[in-house]
Subunit: 379 residues, 4 copies
C-alpha cells in the first residue's frame, strides 16, 4: 500500500506517462496531459492495473464493434480497465469521494439517459461509446471507449468507484472488478444460490472468481471443469467442491456422476469453448439456467431443441451490472476467499509489454499479471 495522500492538496503533475495503442500489437509509451475530471467525475491516480483477456483482444483486434467511431488505433487511446488507485482530484459537485480515497473501479458508466440505463442496465447502455464532441452522451467504458488505466492517471465517473477495503493490497484490489463480473453472472442466474448446485466451466480468472464467490454465497456443490491441473487445483483452494479435468473425464458424465444423475441448477460458462453451451445444456436439470460469460470466436452449432424442451434460460452478460462489484468488494473485504491467490506476477508501468507477454504465454503459470504504477510493490 502507498502512503496516504494528503486529503487536501494532492500534488498532480501537468503531464503523465501513458501507453497508447498505435495499431494492432503496437503499444507505445508516451507523455500525455493529465486529464481533467468533469462534473460527476474524479481523477484517479492509478496505483495498480491488471491485465485482462479483453485487453489482449483490444491489443490485437481493437474490438471495432465496441468502439464508437471505429478502431481505437492511432487515436492516442490508452487501454487498461482493471485498475485501482487513489482519488487525486474532484470534479464539480462531487462530494461522494474525497481526495485520498483508495478506490477500485468498474468499467461501465452508462449515459444515464437511455432506456437501458434508466432501468438500471448500465452495462447495456444504448449510447455506448458516445462520449465525444457534439454527440457526447456521457457514456464511459474506461479502457474500451475512453482512456483507461495503463497510465499514471485516469478519469472516472463517480458511479464507477468502489472503496478499497482497509488492509487490502493494491494488487489484490485490481481483482475486485473480476470478482464483480463473476458476481453479476451469479446474480443474473438467480442470486439465491446457497445450497444450490453450480458448474463453472473454464478456470480462467472469471471462472476462478465465480467458484470463489459462489462458495462464499453458499452454493453446494460447486464443480469446476478445465484442462489444466494447476488451475483446477487453484480452483479447489478457492473453494470448489469438485474439479474435473476434461482431458481425463467427460465433463457431462462427471457432473452426472457427482450429482447422482440429477444435473445441476446452474452453469456459469467461462471457457468460450465451442461446445461449452451444448455441454452446459446437458449438465443443467430441467428448468435450469446458464450464464455465458465467455464465447467462441465463430458461430458454433447449438442444440436449441434441448434448450426449449427443457425450459432453459441462457443469459449473456456484459461487464459487471447490477452494482455487483459492490457485492464482490464486500465479500473480499470480509475475506471470504483468497482472491490474491490469483495474482501471480507484478511489473512496473514501463514493463507493460513484458507483462502482456507473461499473461499471453502463461509464463510461469501466470494468471493475474499486475502492473504497479505508483507506490511500493506488494508480494
Amino acid at each position: 500500500m502507498n502512503a496516504p495522500i494528503q486529503k487536501k492538496g494532492m500534488s498532480v503533475p501537468k503531464t503523465m506517462k501513458a501507453w497508447v495503442l498505435d495499431g494492432p500489437e503496437r503499444l507505445r509509451l508516451t507523455e500525455k496531459p493529465v486529464p481533467e475530471p468533469g462534473p460527476a467525475e474524479v481523477l484517479v491516480r492509478v496505483d495498480a492495473v491488471a491485465i485482462c483477456g479483453t485487453d489482449v483482444e483490444i491489443l490485437t483486434k481493437g474490438l471495432p464493434a465496441m468502439i464508437g467511431g471505429g478502431l481505437p488505433f492511432n487515436k492516442n487511446f490508452t487501454p487498461g480497465h482493471e485498475y485501482m488507485g487513489t482519488v487525486a482530484r474532484l470534479g464539480a459537485g462531487v462530494d461522494e469521494w474525497r481526495v485520498g480515497d483508495r478506490v477500485a473501479v468498474e468499467v461501465h458508466a452508462g449515459c444515464g439517459r437511455c432506456e437501458r440505463c434508466r432501468m438500471g442496465m448500465y452495462t447495456s447502455c444504448l449510447n455506448y461509446g458516445l462520449n465525444y464532441g457534439e454527440s457526447s452522451k456521457g457514456h464511459r467504458a474506461n479502457g474500451f471507449t475512453t482512456d483507461g488505466g495503463f497510465a499514471e492517471y485516469a478519469v472516472n465517473q463517480v458511479n464507477t468507484l468502489i472503496h478499497v477495503p482497509e488492509g487490502m493490497s493494491d494488487e489484490e484490489a485490481t481483482l475486485i472488478v473480476t470478482a464483480g463480473t463473476a458476481t453479476y453472472g451469479l446474480d443474473v442466474l438467480g442470486g439465491l444460490i446457497a445450497g444450490e448446485s453450480l458448474v463453472v466451466t473454464g478456470p480462467g480468472p472469471i471462472g476462478l472468481m465465480s467458484v470463489a464467490v459462489a462458495k462464499a454465497l453458499g452454493a453446494q456443490p460447486v464443480i469446476l471443469t478445465g484442462t489444466r491441473d494447476a488451475r483446477l487445483s487453484l480452483g479447489k483452494r478457492l473453494g470448489a467442491d469438485y474439479v474435473v479435468n476434461i482431458r481425463k473425464e467427460d465433463p457431462v458424465e462427471a457432473v452426472r456422476r457427482i450429482t447422482g444423475g440429477k444435473g445441476v441448477h446452474y452453469v456459469m460458462e467461462c471457457s468460450g469453448a465451442d461446445n461449452a453451451l451444448n455441454e452446459a445444456l446437458d449438465m443443467v436439470n430441467r428448468g435450469g439456467r446458464i450464464c455465458l460469460a465467455a464465447f467462441p470466436g465463430e458461430r458454433v452449432p447449438v442444440d436449441l431443441a434441448k434448450l426449449v424442451r427443457n425450459n432453459i434460460y441462457v443469459y449473456g452478460i456484459r461487464g459487471e451490472g447490477k452494482s455487483a462489484v459492490h457485492r464482490a468488494a464486500a465479500l473480499m473485504a470480509q475475506k471470504r476467499f483468497e482472491a490474491k491467490l490469483m495474482h501471480t506476477h507484478t511489473f512496473g508501468l514501463e514493463d507493460l509489454p513484458t507483462a502482456f507477454k507473461y499473461f499471453r504465454e502463461r509464463i510461469e503459470d501466470a494468471i493475474k499479471v499486475v502492473v504497479k504504477v505508483h507506490g511500493p510493490k506488494n508480494p
Copy 2:
C-alpha cells in the same frame, strides 16, 4: 355449444371411443374403458379438440425423450392435448369444479413434490412422465405421457382446468391453451410490454397468438415475419402493426427500417427456422430478450459472441407455465382479439386422420383444425 349437463347425475358410459397410437403414423380408433378420476382429478367429457404441431411429432416420432419409459407406441396411448369439454365426474375431495362446468385444459400437471414444482415451475417438473405404478409421482401431461383428448373422455388434474367464458364456442375454446403458450412466452420476456416493441417470427398458431396477446397487452409496434402472405394477412387482422414477408425483404433489415435503426425490445421466435435465433440477435437492441417457443430439428450455428456482448437473455419455454393460460383465457373472455379467425376446419372424431391430413398439408390454408367430439358443430 352443447346443452348444459345436469349438474348432478351426468350419465357417463362405461366405455368410450378413443384413438390410440400403435406405431409411427398408425392411429387406430378403438373402444376403451372410461377412466376414473382420482383424488384432485375430474373426468372431462371431451367436446372438441384441436390438432397441434406437436401432435404430428408424436404421431410420427413418438417424442421418445419426453415419455417416461420410452416410446408411446403399442401402449394403448391416446394423444391429443388441445381439448375442451364438460366436467362429467369429480374425483375424491374435489369441490373446485362442478359437474357441468365447461372447461378448457392446460397440458401440464406437475407432480407438486419436486423442486421445480415447488417453486412454481410446473411445466419443468422433474418427475415428468412418472404417473404409473410404484414410481408414480402424480405428474400428468395429457396427450404426452398420460391419455389425451382424441377420445370421448379424459381425466384432468384440477390445476389443469380453466373455465370457458360464457358465449365462447367449443371450437374457439380449444385455442385457449395456444394463447396460454403465447402468454407464457410474453410473461417470461418481462410481462410489462405495453409500449414496447416486439418481433414475432413465424406465423404459425403460437406466433399468431403471440401477436394477438401482445397487442392486447399494448405492445407497440408488433412486427410479424413469415413466408406466406395469407398468414401474414391474418396476423394483421389479429393486430400486427407490421408484417414482413421474408421472401421479399430481409427481416433484419425490415426491423431496422421499421424501428428507425434501434431494433426491438423482444423477439418471440415461433418459426423453428435454422437461422431464426441469429436473426433475432440482430433484431433486438442491447439488453434485449428473446423467447424461443420453437426450435430447429438439428443443431444450428449460433452467434454466441453477439449474445454475450449485448447482454441478451434467451428463454426456452416449455408448455404454458406461470398460470399463463388463465391470463390468456381472461383476455379471450374480454374479446380482446378474434382468436376464432385461426380456426379453419372442423371434423368429427371418426375423421381424425382426415383432420390430420388437412393440418399437415395445410389443405385450404388450414391453420387450426378442430375435431368435434360431442355436441353440435359451430361454424
Copy 3:
C-alpha cells in the same frame, strides 16, 4: 392542438409569464426569464397543465420535507407538474428530441449517480432536491424542487419526456402522467394482472386511472369503491366491473360478496382514508398485495398481525417509476380507455387561482382542471 412549430428556429422570448409561490396560499403571477436548457435538457413551451392534489398541498403547506433547503416560499418557485407542451430549444448534446415535438412529462429526473438511480429507482433518488449551486447532483422534480409548469416555459431533462400520440388533445395529454402513476402501482403489484382481481379504493384521478389501466391490461374483476355516485359512475365508464358506494355498503363485505368469499389478488389504495389499509388487508386473499398510492395525514392504527400472518406485501409508491409513463402513454395512444372523460374544466394561465378553486371545491363536479397556456382550447 397547436399549429406545429417550425422545426428549426422556434422563436423563444427572453422573459415569460409564470406563477410563483410567495407563501401559503399566496400565488403571484410574475415575469421571469425563460430558463436555459443545460446538457441533457430541453426547453418545453408549456401548452397545457393540469392541477393535481399535490399542487394543493404545496400551495398550502409547501411540503417542506420534500424540498431541499426548506420551504419553497418566497423563492420565486413555480409549481405545477402535470404539464405538456412543445419542445422549443435543445440543450447541448441532445438529439433524442427535436424542436417542435409534442411532449408530455414525468415529474422525476433522478440524479443518475446515487445507488437508487443506478438500480433504476429514479423516483427514489437519494439526491432528491439537490439541483442547485455547489451541491448540485442534477436531480429534478419539476414543480416540486425545480420550477414547474404554471408558466409559459419549463426545462426538462430528456428522460422526463414522452411523445404525445398523434391526434391527442393537449388537455388529454396532461393526464398521461396520472395514468403513469396508476401504471407504476400496477407494475409494482406484479404486472401480470390479466384475469386477476383488483380493488381500487378511492375514485380520485389516480384511482380512476388505475381502473382504466387495469382493465386495459385485462384485470378481471376490477372493483372500485368510493363515496360519490358520480365518480363511481365515471369509474364504470372507464371500465370498472363493479362499483361500491361505501356509504351504502360495507366495502369489505361487498368485495367478499362479489368474489364469492375469496377476496382479491390486489388492492390499489388511492383514497388516503384512515382505515383503508385495514380494509385492504381484509379484501385481499392470503399472499395478496396492496399498493398504497395515497395516505392519511396522521398515523393510523394498522392490523400488522393480519399483514404478517397472511404473507401480505404492502408497496408504497412515489411518483411514477419503472418508466411506467411510457406504458401508460402507449395505452392511451391505442385508445384503450377514454382518459378525457376525467377532464372537466379548462382555464387560461391568468385564471390559475380560479382553476384551483374549481379543483379544490369540486365545483361542477370538477375532476381534472386544466390550465391552457398556449394554443387554442380543446373542448
Copy 4:
C-alpha cells in the same frame, strides 16, 4: 447423534407417547397410535424438538384463526413444529427418502392445487387447514393444523423434509427451520444482500438467526437492536457488526450514527414491538425495504405517509417459503455460523411442561429449549 437405523426394517411400534392439548395451558401426555404415512408422505421418528414462541401462543390461545374448524382443544391435537428425526417408514410412491435418513422439517406442506401453491407460495396456501375428511386438500402445517412433534413419531409430506448435515447434532438440527424463516425474510427483502446494510430489530431466535444468515451472505453492516445485553452479546458472536441496546440509546439515532446519516437498505423486524414499524420506516433510506417477521397483538399507529412518500415496501412473511429452509440448512452444513450458541437447554419428552416453563420465563437465559425424544442428549 443416534445410532443409525437399519435401512430396511426399522422397527416401529403400534403406539407412541404423545402430548395433546386439552385446553388452554392444558397439555397432557398420552398414548396414541403411531400414524401411517400416505402417498407422498413419510413417518419420522422424532429425535428432538425445540420450543418456539408460536407453540406458546397455541398452548394459551389455540390460534383459532389458523385452525380449520376452530380451536385445537380437546381434539387429541399434538403441537410442536421445530423437530427433527429419522425417517422410519415410507408412504406409497416415495423414493426421495430412505428409511434411516436424518431429517429436519419445514412446517408447511401446501395443498399443491390452489393458486398460491401453484405459483410457489406454499406457505400462503389457500387451503390452509384442509386436511381432513371429505374436504381434504392435502394441506399440512404440522404442529398447527396436523399433529406435530411433541410425540415419538410424526408424519411429514416429502416436500417438508431436509437432510440433516453430517456431523450436526440433533439439537442443532432443530434450529434449521428457524434459520429457514430468517432466510425467507432475507430472500423476500431482495436476496442480493452482500455489502448491503441491514437492521435486525429484536434478538429472539428469528432475529438472532437473521443476523447469522445475513452475515453469512455478506451483509455489511448488520445492526442488531434489543433490550437485553446478554442477547445482544450473543448477536455479536453470531456476527452482528453493531448492537444497540434501545434502553440506552434511541435505535433510530443509533442507526443514523452508524450509517453516517444514510440509513440502511433493509430492516428485518423480529420484535413485534408496537413502534417497531415506525422506527423501521425511519431507519431505511428512500426506496428501502422492511420485512415483518413479528407483529404486535393489537392494532398500532403507523406512519403510512412516510411509507408512501419514500417508496418503501413492507413484506409480511408467513412461515418459511421459497424453499429457504434448504438454503439455511446448506449454510449451517457449511458451518457459516454457530447456530448451536442459541441452544441453551435440553429436557426429555416427559419434561415438556418444564421445558415450556424454562422457555417462557427465560430461566437461566433460556433461548432455544430442546426436548430430546429419542437417542442420547448432546451437550
